[in-house]
Symmetry: C2
Subunit: 216 residues, 2 copies
Amino acid sequence: MTQIDGRRVRGDASRRLVLANAVDLASIEGLDGLSIGRLATAAQVSKSGVATLFGTKERLQLATVEAAAQRFRETVLEPARVEPRGIRRIVALLDAWIAYSRDRVFPGGCFFNAAVSEFDAKPGPVRDAIAEAIESWNGYLRVSVGYAVELGELAADADPALLAFECTALLDYANSRSVMTGSNEPYRLARRAMVSRLLAAGADVEVLRPLAEHVD
Amino acid sequence: MTQIDGRRVRGDASRRLVLANAVDLASIEGLDGLSIGRLATAAQVSKSGVATLFGTKERLQLATVEAAAQRFRETVLEPARVEPRGIRRIVALLDAWIAYSRDRVFPGGCFFNAAVSEFDAKPGPVRDAIAEAIESWNGYLRVSVGYAVELGELAADADPALLAFECTALLDYANSRSVMTGSNEPYRLARRAMVSRLLAAGADVEVLRPLAEHVD
DNA sequence: TCACTATACGAACGATCGTGCGTAAAATAA
DNA sequence: TTATTTTACGCACGATCGTTCGTATAGTGA
């Protein structure tokens, strides 16, 4: 039986508070643009308090990436798990992703879209952590498409890797365009493209209805 | 008859030199991460020399965006103009864009992908300049698709806006994935997706050959 | 000739950055 | 109790940031 440590409890609460501000700030300013001083101001703690809790800026960035990944999982992955494996879960995932972007779960749009563009040419632990989070989401979607093929809900010759690639491309681009223009039209375009693509892959039109008919 | 000014000639040469370094650095470090000091070191001029030529950092960023747009036009748009309007020019544009990304015309991958993610949530003149450059490219591709429809090279019910949206999404995502992983596989996936999408829109399979058969 | 402009640099400004040190308080462990 | 760990802060350090000022040089015009 592991006893709880009141100091750790307090520290974890502080870390959560700081990280909640960190992911929001980083989705706007970027993971590098996020400075410890401004973060401390936003979280209403002292600058050296942030330094105490995270050590270095790189460790703060790593913790921020993990906090963002958790918020993503809670917002996109968890809700879709109520749907059974196969095409229904795919539809739930794609729909949840659009809601995640459209509702600005991160105020600057998808955290990982911004993080990838910022760090894709900067090797190091932070880049690796971002890559792993992306890879995890991509893999989850790809495997989900694979289930649908195995279950006969998509054509046997459908390529899960290609289909997942296309959907992710459309989602990411819709996010980028919406944040840039402030319009929801990109989400409607992405929905149309994904629906017609899934139909071409043999999906049942009825099952696609949540994705096709949702208004953004 | 406007006489040339030797001082301006010299200054323009310096500006070009500095901007060539600026776009390369910014494609890696970002437009904000790009600092005047490091830029001066890279371009082998003094820090205050850069300040003299561009005034403020914001004006340097604006000039950098314009320099990047020019390099993009020279690399992607100009070569495709040798092809006639319609599906052939579309194929040339898409193929040139993949080469532009794959050959790392900007060392950090597509300059505008990085710039959009960095500035989409930061209102101001720099964001506006980036948005205008993106809009210009998107519009050019959309109009090109429209020509192909008008010429009967694509189905009459094909939606140019949607088709251009899908292709841009695939191109941007292929760029992002390739820079992140160092692989050319994303370009092959994007090619396959675009070819099948254009075929579904009624394109002639022969005309798509340059896009379909090119090896990255 | 002389005044003016554009380029270019060195030096320095105040501001902010990430980080380390010393200290204090709270909780745990001896 | 005493010793140790964790959190949290104030303070200051060196480094770098964008910017400004003064100065020098070269080219343009009157």
